[in-house]
C-alpha cells in the first residue's frame, strides 16, 4: 500500500502522518538502528524519543532514567514483568502522569504532554488493557465521541465511510451498529484501535494487547500491527510474552525494576536471553527445606475451566498438592492466578473439571462450606478482602469462628470468649494495635496481614491458599508470614502459594508450577528451580516462551 493514500485524506481524520520536518536539527540515537528498509521514503527522525525519563512514587522509583526511541514504521516492544515500570512509562507518554525528570520529544520537538486529549492531538493513541468504551453505545457512536470536526447532526453517519476504509485497510473487522456490550474482547479491542487511528494516532501504544485475546485473535492482531507499521505508523508494543515480542518487534527494550536492562534489535535476540533480562538474577539464597513429602495428594484440581471477567481465565488447569507440601504458583499477573485462588476457596465455580479436597468435591460448594472443610484463605487484596476495615481488630479476628458453638451463648455471641480469643491471637501473632477495639483499617499493611493470618490459620486448616501474601509488606511482617506458612507445612497442611516474587517462591516451595494463559505451562521440583538453568526456565515459562 502506498503511503500517498493516507496523506490524501483530510488531516483531522487520519492525522498528518508525515508532517514536514524542520530543516535543521540534530538527532541522536540510542543505538545504531536504521529505519526499516522495506518502507520507501520513511525518514529516520524518531516519531518519539524519550530521554532519561524518571518517575518516583513514595518509596519507589517506578521509572529510573528510561530512554527509548521509536521510528516511524517501527514496532518497538517494551518487555518486562509486572512492576517493571511499563505502565508508569506509558502513563507518562499518554499524559496521565507527569515525569519527575527527563524529556519527551515528538518529531525531535520537545513536548510536555499535559493530558490524554493533548497526547491524542499530538498523535499518540493508547489502547489500554481496560477498554474505555461506553458499553451501551454502538460502535459508531463510540467512534464519533472522540472525533473532532464531526457534523452537529447525525455525527455517526459522516464517519462510516472513513471507518470502512480503515477497517478494510487493516483488517479491523467491526460491526458499526452493534452495541459494544455484546462484543467480544477482541472486537472491543479493534474498536479501540480504530478509534485511536481515526483520531489521528501516528504512534499507537498497545498495552498487553493479547492478554484478552484468543490465540486466533492474537494472530489477527499481530497482522494488524504489521500492516500499520507498513503505513509508517509507530507502534509501542507492551508485553511480557516472549514469543509474540520476537515475532513482531523491530526493536526490544527490556525493563526491570524501573530501569532499562537491555536493548535488542530484530534478529539479535533470543528468548532465553530475554527471559533472563526480564526476571534478573536470583538475589536470595533459597533456604533449603526438608524432603518434599510423599504420598497421596490431598488437593486435586483437574481440567478446570473458570470464566474470568474477560473470557476464560483458567483453561483446563491441573494441579495436585500433597499434605505438607508447598506448591508455589508462579506467573505474570493475569494468567489465571486470581481465579485459581477463587476456585479453591469456593468464590468461583468451575465451568468444567473438578476440584477435590481430601476426596470431597468442593467445586460446587459455597465459600462457607469450603471453609468448613478446612480451607484457609489469605487473599491478594488484604484490605478489601482480608478484613472488614471499619470493624474492630477483635471482630475481624473472630469473623471466621463467630458462628461456631464455642463462641455462642444461645443465639447471641459470647463476646467475653471472643475477646479472649482475639487477645490471645494478638499476642501470638504480634499484632501491633492500640487496642482490640481499634478499627482494622487504621493499622499498617503488615498488621492487617497478621490479623488475616491469625484468623485463617487458627482452625488447623487442611489447605492454605495464600495469594501474594507478602506483597507490599515490611521485612518483619514478611518474615513472620513466611514462618507461619512454613509452620502450616510442618503440621501437614497443603499450601498453595501464589506469588510473583520468584525469590519467595524458591524459598518456600517444594514444587513450583508456572501459570500461563490459564494453564500450567511447566512444573519444576524445587531441586531444579534453584539451579541456574531452572531459574532461566522459570523466566521462559512465565513469558510463554516454552509452553510445555
Amino acid at each position: 500500500m502506498p503511503i500517498r493514500d493516507v496523506r490524501a485524506r483530510p488531516a483531522h481524520w487520519s492525522g498528518a502522518l508525515h508532517a514536514p520536518a524542520p530543516a535543521q536539527r540534530t538527532v541522536c540515537y540510542l543505538d545504531r538502528v536504521r529505519p526499516p528498509d522495506d518502507i520507501p521514503g520513511v525518514r529516520s527522525v524518531p516519531l518519539i524519543s524519550v530521554r532519561e525519563l524518571t518517575k518516583r512514587f513514595p518509596g519507589v522509583v517506578a521509572n529510573d532514567s528510561v530512554s527509548l526511541d521509536l521510528l516511524p514504521g517501527e514496532v518497538h516492544a517494551l518487555l518486562g514483568e509486572n512492576g517493571a515500570g511499563k505502565t508508569t512509562l506509558i502513563s507518562m507518554l499518554y499524559g496521565l502522569l507527569q515525569p519527575d525528570g527527563g524529556s519527551i520529544a515528538m518529531d525531535a520537538q520537545r513536548v510536555t504532554i499535559k493530558n490524554p486529549r493533548h497526547a491524542m492531538d499530538l498523535g499518540i493513541g493508547l489502547v489500554a488493557q481496560h477498554f474505555n468504551l461506553a458499553r451501551r453505545h454502538t460502535v459508531a457512536e463510540n467512534l464519533a465521541v472522540g472525533l473532532r470536526g464531526t457534523p452537529f447532526w447525525r455525527p455517526t453517519r459522516a464517519l462510516q465511510k472513513r471507518a470502512a476504509e480503515l477497517t478494510e485497510r487493516y483488517g479491523l473487522e467491526v460491526r458499526m451498529h452493534a452495541q459494544v456490550a455484546g462484543l467480544s474482547p477482541g472486537e472491543r479491542q479493534r474498536v479501540e484501535i480504530l478509534k485511536a487511528v481515526m483520531q489521528g494516532a501516528r504512534l499507537l501504544i498497545l498495552d498487553e494487547p493479547t492478554s484478552v485475546l484468543t490465540p486466533q485473535e492474537a494472530d489477527a492482531l499481530l497482522r494488524v500491527v504489521t500492516d500499520m507499521r507498513r503505513d509508517g505508523r509507530g507502534i509501542l508494543f507492551i508485553s511480557h510474552k516472549l514469543g509474540e515480542v520476537l515475532r513482531v518487534a523491530d526493536r526490544i527494550t527490556v525493563l526491570r525494576g524501573g530501569k532499562v536492562v537491555g536493548r535488542r534489535v530484530r534478529g539479535g535476540a533470543e528468548a532465553s536471553e530475554l527471559a533472563r533480562l526480564m526476571v534478573g538474577a536470583p538475589t536470595a539464597t533459597p533456604q533449603r527445606l526438608g524432603i518434599p513429602p510423599e504420598g497421596e495428594p490431598v488437593l486435586r484440581v483437574s481440567g478446570v475451566w473458570v470464566r474470568g471477567r474477560r473470557g476464560p481465565a483458567l483453561r483446563g488447569l491441573d494441579l495436585a498438592v500433597r499434605p505438607g507440601e508447598v506448591l508455589g504458583v508462579a506467573g505474570v499477573a493475569g494468567n489465571g492466578q486470581s481465579e485459581l485462588a477463587q476456585v479453591l476457596t469456593g468464590l468461583a465455580r468451575p465451568e468444567k473439571g473438578s476440584v477435590t479436597l481430601a476426596g470431597a468435591d468442593i467445586g460446587r460448594l459455597s465459600p462457607r462450606e469450603v471453609r468448613k472443610l478446612g480451607v484457609a484463605y489469605i487473599p491478594e487484596d488484604r484490605r478489601a478482602e482480608g478484613v472488614a476495615g471499619t470493624l474492630s481488630v477483635a471482630e475481624n479476628l473472630v469473623l471466621r469462628q463467630v458462628r461456631d458453638k464455642e463462641f455462642a451463648r444461645g443465639p447471641v455471641i459470647d463476646w467475653r470468649k471472643a475477646e479472649a480469643f482475639a487477645a490471645a491471637a494478638v499476642l501470638r501473632f504480634d499484632i501491633r494495635t492500640p487496642s482490640l477495639a481499634t478499627a482494622a483499617r487504621t493499622l499498617s499493611g503488615g498488621n492487617v496481614q497478621k490479623i488475616v493470618l491469625a484468623r485463617e490459620l487458627s482452625g488447623r486448616p487442611t489447605l492454605v491458599v495464600a495469594s501474594h501474601p507478602t506483597y507490599g509488606l515490611d521485612v518483619g511482617s514478611a518474615a513472620l508470614t513466611h514462618e507461619r506458612l512454613l509452620a502450616q507445612r510442618e503440621r501437614g497442611a497443603a499450601v498453595v502459594l501464589i506469588s510473583e516474587d520468584l525469590d519467595e517462591l524458591r524459598a518456600l516451595s517444594d514444587t513450583i508450577v508456572v501459570l500461563f494463559a490459564g494453564r500450567v505451562a511447566g512444573t519444576l521440583p524445587i531441586s531444579e528451580a534453584i539451579t541456574e538453568t531452572g531459574w532461566e526456565r522459570l523466566g521462559l515459562l512465565m513469558g510463554g516462551g516454552a509452553a510445555a
Partner: protein, 309 residues
C-alpha cells in the same frame, strides 16, 4: 355514549399528563447525563409559585413563564453544584431540595391560597384539527399551549439526544464518563448543564399547574407529580418519545381515579403509577445484564478522573 367517554378520558389524560411529561423530559435529560434529580417535586413547586406570583403581580403570562423557568434553573443550579462539582450524594441533595422546595413554595404562596389568577393561561381549540372526528375532541379541543409545547419538546429532546453531537456527548457522559473525558468532553460541565435544563423543564411543569391547569394557588399544588415523573422516566426507559405514551397512561390513571370513584376506590388508581413503575423496574432487571435497556451506566455516580470502575 361510550365514544364520548373515551375521547374525554383521553383529553383529560393529556391535560393531566402534560406536567408529568414536562418534568419527565427534564429528568430524562439530567439522568442521561448521569445525574439523578430527586428534587423534581421541589423544583416544580417553586416553579409553580414563582410563576403564580409574577402572573398575579404583573398579569403577564410570558413573564410568569420566564419566572417559573428561572426558578427551576436556580434550584437546579444548587443541585448541580452539589452533585457534579462537590461530588456529594445526589440522592440526599435531591431529597433535601424536594423537602425544602415544597416548604418554601407553600410559605411563599400562603397569602394567595384559594385566590384565583385574574388572567390565567386559557385553553383553546386547535383550528381545523379540532374538527377531526375522535382525534379532534381527544387531543385538539380545549387544551393549553403548554401541552403542545411539551409534545414538541419531547421531539426536540429526542432529536438532540439521539441525532446530534451534543446529545452523543451527553449520553456518553452518562454511560461512561471516563470515555467522554478521554474524548475531551468536560464531564462536569455537561452534567451541570443537563441538570439546569432539567430544572427549567421542572419549572415549566410547575407553571402549567399554577398558570393553566388550576389557576388558583393551593397548598401542595403539585401533589406528588414530581415523584410520579421520576417513575415515568424509568417506565419510558429514559427515552423522550416513549415518555409521551407513558405520560398519557399515567394521566389516564389520574382522571379515571375521579371517574371511577363509584366503582373503584380512587386511592387504588392513584397508586397505579407507582405499581406500574415497580413492574417496569422488575422487567428491566429481568431482561438486564446484557445492557440493552435500563438506566445509564454511570447514573448517580459522581465522576472523579482516574478512578477505575
Amino acid at each position: 355514549m361510550e365514544l364520548e367517554l373515551l375521547t374525554t378520558t383521553l383529553a383529560r389524560a393529556l391535560a393531566f399528563g402534560t406536567p408529568l411529561l414536562l418534568a419527565a423530559l427534564g429528568e430524562v435529560v439530567a439522568e442521561r447525563a448521569g445525574v439523578v434529580n430527586l428534587g423534581m417535586e421541589g423544583m416544580m413547586m417553586l416553579g409553580a409559585v414563582a410563576g403564580f406570583m409574577v402572573a398575579a403581580a404583573t398579569g403577564s403570562l410570558p413573564l410568569a413563564l420566564l419566572a417559573s423557568t428561572l426558578a427551576g434553573v436556580a434550584v437546579a443550579a444548587l443541585h448541580g453544584v452539589i452533585a457534579t462539582f462537590l461530588l456529594a450524594n445526589q440522592f440526599v441533595s435531591g431529597l433535601a431540595i424536594t423537602i425544602g422546595g415544597v416548604g418554601l413554595a407553600n410559605l411563599l404562596g400562603k397569602e394567595w391560597v384559594g385566590k384565583p389568577l385574574a388572567a390565567p393561561m386559557l385553553p383553546f381549540d386547535v383550528p381545523v384539527l379540532s374538527g377531526v372526528p375522535l382525534l379532534g375532541p381527544a387531543f385538539f379541543t380545549r387544551q393549553y399551549a403548554l401541552t403542545y409545547a411539551a409534545l414538541v419538546l419531547a421531539l426536540v429532546v429526542w432529536l438532540v439526544l439521539f441525532r446530534s453531537r451534543v446529545g452523543l456527548t451527553l449520553r456518553t457522559v452518562g454511560e461512561s464518563p471516563a470515555a467522554a473525558d478521554a474524548a475531551g468532553a468536560n464531564v462536569r460541565r455537561v452534567r451541570f448543564l443537563a441538570v439546569l435544563v432539567g430544572g427549567a423543564m421542572a419549572g415549566l411543569a410547575g407553571a402549567y399547574l399554577s398558570l393553566a391547569y388550576r389557576p388558583a394557588w393551593g397548598e401542595n399544588i403539585t401533589n406528588g407529580m414530581g415523584w410520579i415523573a421520576l417513575g415515568l422516566t424509568i417506565l419510558a426507559l429514559w427515552h423522550p418519545l416513549r415518555a409521551v405514551p407513558a405520560a398519557l397512561l399515567f394521566g389516564a390513571f389520574f382522571t379515571l381515579s375521579f371517574r371511577l370513584q363509584a366503582v373503584l376506590p380512587p386511592e387504588l388508581l392513584t397508586l397505579l403509577p407507582y405499581l406500574v413503575t415497580v413492574l417496569a423496574l422488575t422487567l428491566i432487571a429481568w431482561r438486564g445484564g446484557r445492557g440493552a435497556v435500563g438506566a445509564p451506566e454511570a447514573l448517580g455516580v459522581p465522576y472523579r478522573r482516574g478512578e477505575r470502575e
